[in-house]
């Protein structure tokens, strides 16, 4: 009866596994990233099949899109640094990133032993998985009961912004910690030249930007009722930032750091303040008064979306824009 779908599932599953293996084993790093992006998109497709459209959106936008962009950016940087060293820069996608000390190749025996070890673990996990109750107990009933009091109509948003809002706040804190750490690690205006973009690309960017802004805002807005929300919307808006950075329509300057800092912390600060301030009149932290729940959740989501968008773009830019004195490092 559902045969065609089962065949589709099996094919999709096989492609996902094959792409995972291929992306780890292909020699060229550029090909590796491309294979990974395809892998991520197919995984998102599988999650749509499992009726998890929110997760699929997040994986496609953040897990695959932003991660892929970050990987490509890093590869670009590695090849630029290697090129400056007089080594053969991989143009057109040859070669590995030539790390200065060539890593000692691991003996085949060690690799095989490791692989066998991981294989055993995987086998054990598979057995454990098969032994677990399928469609077992869950939060279904609890969520269904609590939804009317959550202030939103879409269950995943209810979980993220209300039932488990504390987790979500901490997730935004993780993002903040990441951008603080990245700014601490890298600084300077730019050392690798931006990839050259053709005129078509510039034109495309001009056309695409408004559309992306609209899509991102829509995703945020619709999150209250349907799949979408702060994280997916934020990631789509971050794409605007990526395009602006790539086309050099926006170049981060040292003077902009104050605003950027403000944008990074905006989501965390607003979220935490609301969570603390609602605790009055017998309510505890994170307990939104029902009549204001939807407003508060939208307020939090809006701030968080903005922060996520700016933070992801900053993570892509990957350095604190600060003017270095001539000769490189200021202090270490």
């Amino acid at each position: 009866m559902t045969d065609p779908l089962v065949i589709f599932d099996l094919l999709l599953a096989l492609s996902i596994v094959a792409l995972a293996v291929a992306s780890l084993s292909v020699r060229d790093l550029f090909a590796m990233i491309v294979l990974f992006i395809v892998f991520g998109l197919l995984s998102a497709l599988a999650w749509v099949r499992l009726s998890a459209p929110d997760v699929a959106l997040a994986e496609a936008a953040i897990g695959t899109g932003v991660t892929g962009a970050l990987l490509l950016k890093t590869l670009h940087h590695l090849r630029f640094v290697a090129g400056g060293q007089g080594l053969r820069a991989g143009s057109g996608g040859t070669s590995m990133a030539p790390a200065a000390p060539v890593p000692v190749p691991v003996p085949v025996g060690v690799i095989l032993a490791n692989a066998a070890f991981c294989g055993l673990i995987t086998l054990g996990l598979a057995v454990a998985f098969l032994g677990a109750p399928s469609a077992g107990p869950g939060f279904d009933a609890l969520v269904a009961d609590a939804m009317p009091d959550s202030g939103v109509a879409h269950p995943v948003t209810g979980v993220l912004l209300n039932f488990r809002a504390y987790d979500t706040l901490m997730e935004v804190v993780v993002l903040l910690a990441a951008v603080v750490a990245v700014w601490q690690i890298e600084r300077g205006l730019s050392d690798a030249p931006a990839p050259v973009m053709g005129e078509v690309w510039q034109g495309f960017a001009r056309l695409a930007l408004p559309a992306i802004v609209v899509i991102g805002t829509y995703l945020l807005w619709v999150g209250a009722e349907a799949p979408g929300g702060a994280f997916q919307g934020g990631a789509v808006l971050a794409a605007v930032g990526l395009l602006l950075l790539l086309t050099r329509a926006y170049v981060p300057r040292p003077a902009h750091r104050g605003i950027a800092r403000g944008a990074f912390v905006l989501g965390t600060a607003a979220f935490a303040l609301v969570a603390l301030l609602v605790a009055s009149g017998g309510r505890v932290a994170f307990e939104y008064p029902l009549e204001h729940a939807k407003t508060l959740i939208l307020l939090i989501e809006g701030m968080v979306t903005l922060s996520i968008a700016v933070t992801l773009a900053a993570l892509f830019h990957g350095r604190e824009p600060v003017a270095l004195p001539k000769g490189g490092r200021d202090d270490t």
Binding site: P137, D167, I185, S280, R283, V284
Partner: protein, 485 residues
């Protein structure tokens, strides 16, 4: 309309707001950091009073209550860990003022505070959490902030070590996350209470194994310790003190909690844990004996001491677990205080002398006597001489092991103690032999106000041993290990 604020929320949110403020106002970062630390310490004291008076306290965030929502819970063990964190944190912060005062360190000054306050948010969050997925998010907050602190100095060695640490940290967190997935598959809930009394099915055994391996990687239990020595040895002194004294304890604490709530381990698994601990004691000891640099020696001694904590945990098998956790907790507290003191002292010695090559310690004309004294005091607690807290912890370990006839753990502890005497003696020899260089008297000392914080910590490591009885009774508050709640 007044806002009801609970001490638990403050313990997590004060450092968070501090981190935000310190990041926004880099010039005032140090001031903001110290104020946030002091206020957080105040919140922890308030919480401790509450717990002392009325037992464990629970805060259902959002008013939902577990399992749908997330509860915060503070009992004796949580508060003891929070107290360790804020006390050590406050003193390390004070010494960071001096350690990062150099003209070339403005960047380090600027980033130390937001990263450290974010780290504090994560650590406090772990100690108050009762939800395994929330723990996963918290250990990631800790991981990113800790890696940021590791590479603060920006040297190539530090960045290399930080990258290895990052890989290990991510992998550990992902193994933990996979474990969370299996718990959900089997039980359909994620709160601690939901884990209790569950039948140990295949999925749950897989979950326990995944989570344990992930945490062992994070806490650097032998043989998953490979990332720790380089990371802790190459960080700047205050960061090393925080990483070694506090960060590894968060993962250790989660292991204790899981042992409390998960359908635990058979005898065989507990023996395996003990053997890994014994391996750490021996291997960490050997490497500490061979280390050429002071900070590396101290870092390897962390590996050995963490092993000892796991030995304490396994000392009396499954039945003894109701008591063993207390020995482990005592050792955790003792190590946290003493190791922070020791890393700060090692940093002071390195600052004063200009290097930390153990062989050449006695060739220097400058003798940072107070820092050396601090180092020695901290070593007394780590070796486990009376009346230090380390001694009480080791004593509890061996007593329990002997009572249940597990003599092999006693042997491991003795061997570990002898080895720690041996490797710390290498350092003392460098401190004491004055004959190599006759220095002018005026340059003989080299001590500063900066020694005050580590010295206080070192005295605390010894003095707390005299307070072991009240600490033990505090630990037991609201803690139903082995007793039905």
């Amino acid at each position: 309309m007044s806002v009801d604020i609970s001490a638990m929320m403050l313990a997590i949110f004060l450092p968070l707001f501090g981190a935000i403020a310190a990041f926004l106002l880099p010039r005032a970062a140090a001031l903001i950091g110290l104020v946030a630390l002091a206020l957080t310490t105040g919140a922890v004291i308030w919480l401790a009073r509450e717990v002392w008076q009325s037992g464990a306290v629970i805060l259902p965030l959002g008013g939902w209550g577990a399992p749908l929502g997330i509860d915060l819970r503070a009992d004796g063990l949580s508060v003891a860990m929070l107290a360790l964190t804020s006390a050590v944190g406050l003193l390390v912060s004070v010494s960071a003022l001096d350690a990062l005062k150099g003209a070339g360190q403005s960047r380090q000054r600027q980033y130390f505070w937001p990263l450290w306050l974010l780290l504090l948010t994560g650590i406090n969050g772990v100690y108050l959490s009762t939800d395994i997925f929330n723990l996963y998010v918290m250990i990631e907050v800790i991981a990113l902030a800790a890696v940021g602190l590791t590479v603060l100095s920006g040297t190539r060695a530090a960045v290399q070590a930080g990258l290895e640490y990052m890989y290990a940290s991510i992998l550990g967190a992902l193994l933990f996350l996979m474990g969370v997935g299996f718990v959900y598959l089997q039980l359909g809930r994620l709160d601690f209470a939901g884990l209790m009394d569950a039948e140990p099915t295949g999925a749950l055994i897989a979950a326990v194994a995944l989570m344990f391996v992930g945490l062992a990687l994070k806490t650097a239990l032998f043989p998953l310790h490979f990332w720790l020595p380089a990371a802790h040895a190459n960080a700047t002194a205050p960061a090393s003190a925080l990483l070694s004294g506090l960060v590894v304890k968060a993962a250790l604490y989660i292991v204790l909690r899981l042992a409390q709530y998960m359908p635990f381990p058979s005898e065989a698994l507990l023996t395996l844990v003990g053997m890994m601990g014994a391996g750490a004691v021996i291997w960490g000891g050997i490497q500490a004996l061979r280390a050429e640099r002071l900070k590396l020696l101290v870092a390897w001694s962390t590996v050995a001491q963490i092993g000892l904590i796991f030995v304490a945990f396994a000392r009396a098998g499954e039945l003894g677990l109701t008591e063993s956790w207390k020995a482990a907790a005592l050792l955790i507290l003792a190590h946290g205080v003493a190791k922070a003191a020791m890393f700060l002292a090692a940093g002071r010695i390195k600052d004063e002398i200009g290097h930390d090559v153990i062989r050449d310690l006695d060739r220097s004309p400058i003798r940072p006597t107070l820092a050396q004294f601090t180092f020695a005091l901290a070593a007394i607690s780590l070796i486990g001489l009376p009346p230090s807290l380390g001694f009480i912890g080791k004593w509890a370990l061996m007593e329990g092991a002997m009572a249940s006839g597990y003599w092999h753990w006693v042997v491991v502890t003795m061997v570990g103690t002898l080895m720690s005497v041996a490797y710390f003696s290498r350092v003392f020899a460098g401190f004491l032999r004055f004959d190599r260089v006759r220095a002018p008297v005026g340059e003989h000392q080299g001590w500063a106000l900066a020694d005050a914080a580590p010295l206080t910590l070192a005295f605390a490591a010894i003095g707390l041993g005299l307070m072991a009885a009240p600490i033990l009774s505090f630990l037991e508050i609201g803690y139903p290990f082995g007793v039905a709640p």
